[in-house]
Amino acid sequence: MDNENSKGQPYMRLAGALLTLFLLTCITVYVSRLKLGSMGIWVALFVAAAKSSVVLLIFMHIKKEGKAVMISFLAAVFILALVIGILFFDLSYRAG
């Protein structure tokens, strides 16, 4: 962990991540043209989550951070997901 931190990430790994992100962007644009209806939104969000994970894991190299960052990051995402979940729960009980 410290060893890689001091030497820096290999350029090929970073280039591979960029290529993956380009591919995922092409996929999400292509899928959006297929007119899948509401299913299309979920596919787009899933691809966006996958792209974010690549940026977090490779470009931001979150794994090299200590437990404090890992736990607090997951807590922040969990709280946001919880709030969004509560919102949809609330909306589903509203008329119209």
């Binding site: 931190n5 001091s6 030497k7 820096g8 990430q9 290999p10 350029y11 970073l14 280039a15 991540a17 960029l18 992100l21 380009f22 962007t25 999400t28 644009v29 959006s32 299309g40 939104i41 787009a44 969000l45 691809v47 966006a48 792209k51 974010s52 940026v55 977090l56 490779i58 470009f59 931001m60 190299h61 951070e65 200590g66 404090a68 960052v69 607090s72 990051f73 922040a76 995402v77 709280i79 946001l80 709030v83 969004i84 919102l87 949809f88 909306l91």
Partner: protein
């Protein structure tokens, strides 16, 4: 001395992460607003989304992803001791960020000249898709506007970092500023990764 510098770098990075969480919550609130209105005005949102230029939106996505790669590579180069290469990567990230803002300016000015902007009387009067299209564009200008402010701040930070790299104040043993600037820039990238499908891919 060396140990103290390492722990300071870790502390400042943790502080940066805490700041990034507050940014996630700021944009999270906008995403929640978007989701609630989207459920109510799906056809209006689709009408608004179909009027955006998908080619420019996709181009901007690829540009921002590449600039993120350049910043990550700049940090890797510093850690390998290649200061010139690090500066070159950083400079290319700055140029790409400026191109992103240029495209965004072009898109905004095109919409505004067509009478599409928040509070436009002509836009409200000629709205064929009802209230949803107006709300979509209000969210479009708010989300891309706040994001553009973040890109601008990120560019200023990257420029300061570049000046420090050129003057030797950032080195292999002391690059906390570059790490933190990179974290901020990557977050700006992640935010766009979510904004892009919400605005451009819902037609």
């Amino acid at each position: 001395m060396g140990t103290a510098a390492v722990s300071d770098s870790q502390g400042s990075r943790f502080g940066m992460w805490l700041f990034l969480y507050s940014e996630i919550m700021l944009f999270g609130a906008l995403f929640i607003l978007y989701a609630a209105y989207f459920l109510k005005y799906q056809s209006g949102f689709a009408a608004g989304g179909s009027e955006l230029d998908l080619t420019l939106g996709t181009a901007n996505t690829l540009i921002l992803l590449t600039s993120s790669f350049a910043v990550a590579s700049s940090l890797a180069a510093v850690q390998k001791g290649s200061m010139k290469l690090s500066g070159a990567f950083l400079l290319s990230a700055i140029v790409l960020g400026m191109v992103f803002l240029g495209i965004k300016y072009f898109e905004w000015s095109h919409k505004i000249s067509a009478g599409i902007y928040p509070g436009s009387a002509a836009f409200k009067a000629a709205d064929p898709a009802g209230h949803g299209r107006i709300i979509f564009y209000n969210l479009y200008f708010t989300m891309t506007g706040i994001h553009a402010v973040h890109v601008t701040i990120g560019l200023i930070v990257l420029m300061i970092t570049f000046a420090f790299t050129a003057s030797g104040r950032i080195s292999r043993d002391n690059h906390a500023l570059l790490e933190n600037a990179g974290l901020y820039w990557h977050l700006v990238d992640i935010l766009w990764i979510f904004i892009f499908p919400m605005l451009y891919l819902i037609a």
